[in-house]
């Protein structure tokens, strides 16, 4: 915007980010469940969710929605309709039950960050679900605050490997914490049981 100093723009950015975290990301579990029920292609769910987020973030940057949750689900519905229309070959399963798109909103309830005990419990469970080496690295980095070098020495691995495990831990923790990753699938699983480390979007966590 003309005439605004970089500090003001930085402030606006930070408040948009904060809003996004507390009003949108907080609904990730509900959003993921919703998308999963409406969109049969598991492999596309991660992409779908992120595109919903992008649309919301850009819209909110212009005008802050007054009902963030309703806006979130409305955006998800529009996105799925758009994708269906754009698809050259519409598979029979994809069309599905359009009424289902509207019915499910009230059923899924968001998990708010109530803070304190509940949040810590979720984090501890997420932490315990990390693969072994990754878990060790995350403990030493985040809890003990070891430097990357200290972790490398302590575990006898390279610093590059420590960084890779840190990055992986960040992705997995985000999945568990925000709620897109669930332990047991709620719907009957048609494909083979998910091996350790995979999330519900049907892709291998690398």
């Amino acid at each position: 915007m003309a005439g605004m100093g970089s500090a003001s723009v930085g402030c606006m950015q930070a408040s948009l980010d904060d809003w996004f975290i507390s009003e949108i990301l907080v609904h990730e579990a509900a959003l993921s469940n919703y998308l999963r029920r409406c969109w049969p292609q598991r492999s596309e769910l991660h992409d779908l969710r992120q595109e919903v987020y992008v649309r919301i973030y850009e819209a909110a940057g212009k005008t802050r929605p007054t009902q963030p949750r309703a806006f979130l689900f409305a955006t998800a519905r529009h996105l799925m309709s758009d994708r269906l229309r754009r698809a050259r070959v519409v598979s029979i399963e994809a069309v599905g039950d359009f009424d289902a798109l509207n019915v499910l909103i009230d059923e899924v309830s968001p998990e708010r960050w109530c803070g304190g005990r509940q949040t810590l419990k979720r984090l501890a469970e997420s932490f315990d679900r990390l693969p072994d080496r990754c878990r060790q690295v995350i403990w030493l980095r985040r809890v003990e605050e070891f430097s990357q070098k200290e972790v490398a020495m302590h575990l006898g691995i390279s610093e590059k490997t420590v960084e890779k495990h840190t990055a992986k831990g960040m992705r997995l923790l985000a999945g568990h914490f925000h709620g897109s990753t669930t332990v047991a699938p709620t719907a009957p699983v048609r494909e083979a049981a998910l091996p350790h480390g995979q999330d519900q979007d049907g892709q291998q966590a690398d």
Partner: protein, 364 residues
Amino acid sequence: MDSRRIELEASHWLARREAGAWSQADASALEQWLARSTAHRVAFLRLAAAWEQGGRLQALGAGIPTGTIPPRGSWSWSGPAASADPPAPAAAATGQSGHDWSQLRFASRPQSHRSHRAAWTGWLAALVLATGVALAWRHQASPAAVPALAYATAIGRIQQIALNDGSRATLGSGSGLTVALRPDERHLELHGGEAFFEVAKDPARPFVVAAANHDVVAVGTRFSVRRNGTALRIVVTEGTVRLQPDPDRSQQPGPTTLLPAGSVATVSDNGNVLVRSLPLAEASRLLDWRQGYLSFRDSTLQAAVEEFNRYNQRPLVIGDAVAGAVRIGGSFHWSNEEAFVRVLERGFPIRAERLPDRVVLHSR
């Protein structure tokens, strides 16, 4: 959009930023990457938000030796009253099995990013985040210890705690308390500061507050315990409590004292106990901090200033002996130090010198 690839890149950016060696050039490069696409920005924001919350994991590290990684499932979330485990064999005193809470410390780390630190020890900073966490540290060689809950407050904050037996505790400014409700005894430990207790009646289990070298034992009462190193002050506003030296901790034998309502008992550093019996209203005034203010009635300024400094980061300093001896009275919000100083300047022969890190009070 290849959201998986973008998330992978975002996680590597975040890992590098958190690794510590992060220059201005790095920050610019990240900002450029974020600016290239909203998808980048959102992916990064999402990871950073979870990582930020991940800091709470530090609460799980309390009491665990540096470099030891606890196995999965080391944490239990049942409340202490629900535990059917046998009581820990005096673990707190001997430090053999289970959790020795008196040894809780974080080694200070040179490159800590944590911006909030509680007043006096590193572990309290983590525990402030984790109010109400129950930890059962299951060691292979020893029997399961009774879970203990730890609470801590920063300077200028007070906290209300509801205990599982129906009792309530109010933790004062800059204070630390550990609670272990065992089947035979409700055991609490005051590590520092002050706490006020409203004890639910349970004749089968005495309510024991251990502070320094003494135990304050109650059955169904209201009382507060304040600790300053080994000096204590106990104020009883309802019922009767028993003040007794802890045989394991105190060097010399001392008196056991029964304190009825209205008692204000002070234990000095060398173990001497002095008991005053006050009208209930006057004794209760000593606990006005719970409502947010401090009440003085014919107190010396010296004493009042010491009280105020417990609740505020910027200390008041007595400039000369005459100022310190001035007698003041009144009720003041402890969170508003400036208002207190102004009242002193207007109503009393005091002149205040306001410095960046303290306020010096001189006589006029």
